[in-house]
Symmetry: C2
Subunit: 184 residues, 2 copies
DNA sequence: GTTGCCATGTAAGGTGTTACATGATTTA
DNA sequence: TAAATCATGTAACACCTTACATGGCAAC
């Protein structure tokens, strides 16, 4: 379970509440997590049952009750184990590719329009991510200098992914445009 | 539902059975589909109930029974609609990024080892995809010349994705190696 | 006094995977 | 005769998302 690894990772810096984790996870673009609660609170219950995290219930003098989680020794070991286990390959999910299966039903104009719209959408996303970077948003302020390099690289990876997709769409648009030379 | 779009797309070329579709879908790397049956046969039932496909049951003189599906007019319209609707952004799922959240618990050596192993894994994947390409595998033999350019581009996109990830891992390895200059 | 943030959780459902189950035909 | 391919389907479960539900505190 990939979210559990991320949670254990974050807890390796400091004890955190579910709410804290939710913010950290949804903040970070490259973790591409929707920000839903269901998953996180259930993952924490699960990790607690497995003895990988400890729960500390704060009875607050002011503000809402918080449950603060921290790594146990077993949790620390489990984190190391999953970091050192055989790496999993990444995957891309691009609905556009599924759409293009049926592209032969489209006129050249429509196909061009679609690829252009896709490129525009991607440009917007890239712009937003670059803007985040400029503001220092989306990059957790946790860990060593080495780790800060890693956070940066993760963010860069997300940007590069969208940029590659944008360039791919532009190239494809050019290729299919060239074939028919304006026919249709 | 992204798989339904792909199915409608394939059916726009010719009537096909569930088995045919299964082969086409799992063949194509960029559609990144596991090849499971559950999904596909249920999707076909679903599309049939919605009136988007027609089912033709072949009573065969030899061989097993086949149910051959073809697009209805409504199906054709639905396909066009989904192609022309607002494009969805792609996503990458990279478990490695989730792992790297906890990278600060690792020594420089271990981190280096992990990134190296990841790069090797990616290299293997890229090699396999390039091999497929050389053999003309993984690219459906369907549609116009324009469409063949699209199939090619889809395959190229998958390769480029893994290659970008491999280069990213190498760069990160170099960056973190530089920071500490061999310390630990 | 209403909006926004802190903080916890649940319900329902969509999407996808692995594995199971069956049986005929073709190829080595 | 054993293995691969053709062909259909089901069961169980993992993962992830949207939306719902509740309540206190802070700021404007």
């Amino acid at each position: 379970m990939t979210i559990e690894v991320a949670i254990l990772g974050f807890l390796s810096y400091a004890p955190l509440s579910g709410y804290d984790l939710k913010k950290l996870l949804s903040q970070s673009e490259s973790l591409h997590w929707s920000g839903n609660n269901n998953q996180i609170y259930r993952a924490l219950v699960d990790l607690h049952e497995k003895g990988l995290v400890e729960r500390d219930e704060e009875a607050p003098s002011a503000g809402p009750a918080r449950k603060v989680y921290s790594l146990t020794e077993a949790g620390d070991a489990a984190l190391r184990d999953s970091l050192l286990s055989a790496p999993e390959l990444p995957e891309m999910r691009t609905p556009m590719l599924a759409r293009l299966v049926g592209a032969d039903t489209l006129s050249n104009e429509d196909l061009d329009r679609i690829l252009t719209a896709y490129g525009d959408e991607l440009r917007g996303k890239i712009w937003a991510l670059e803007e985040m970077e400029r503001r220092g948003d989306g990059i957790p302020d946790l860990g060593s200098e080495r780790q800060r390099v890693i956070w940066q690289a993760m963010h860069q990876r997300a940007i590069a992914f969208y940029r590659a997709e944008m360039e791919w769409a532009a190239t494809l648009r050019w290729s299919v445009g060239k074939i028919v030379g304006g026919a249709d």
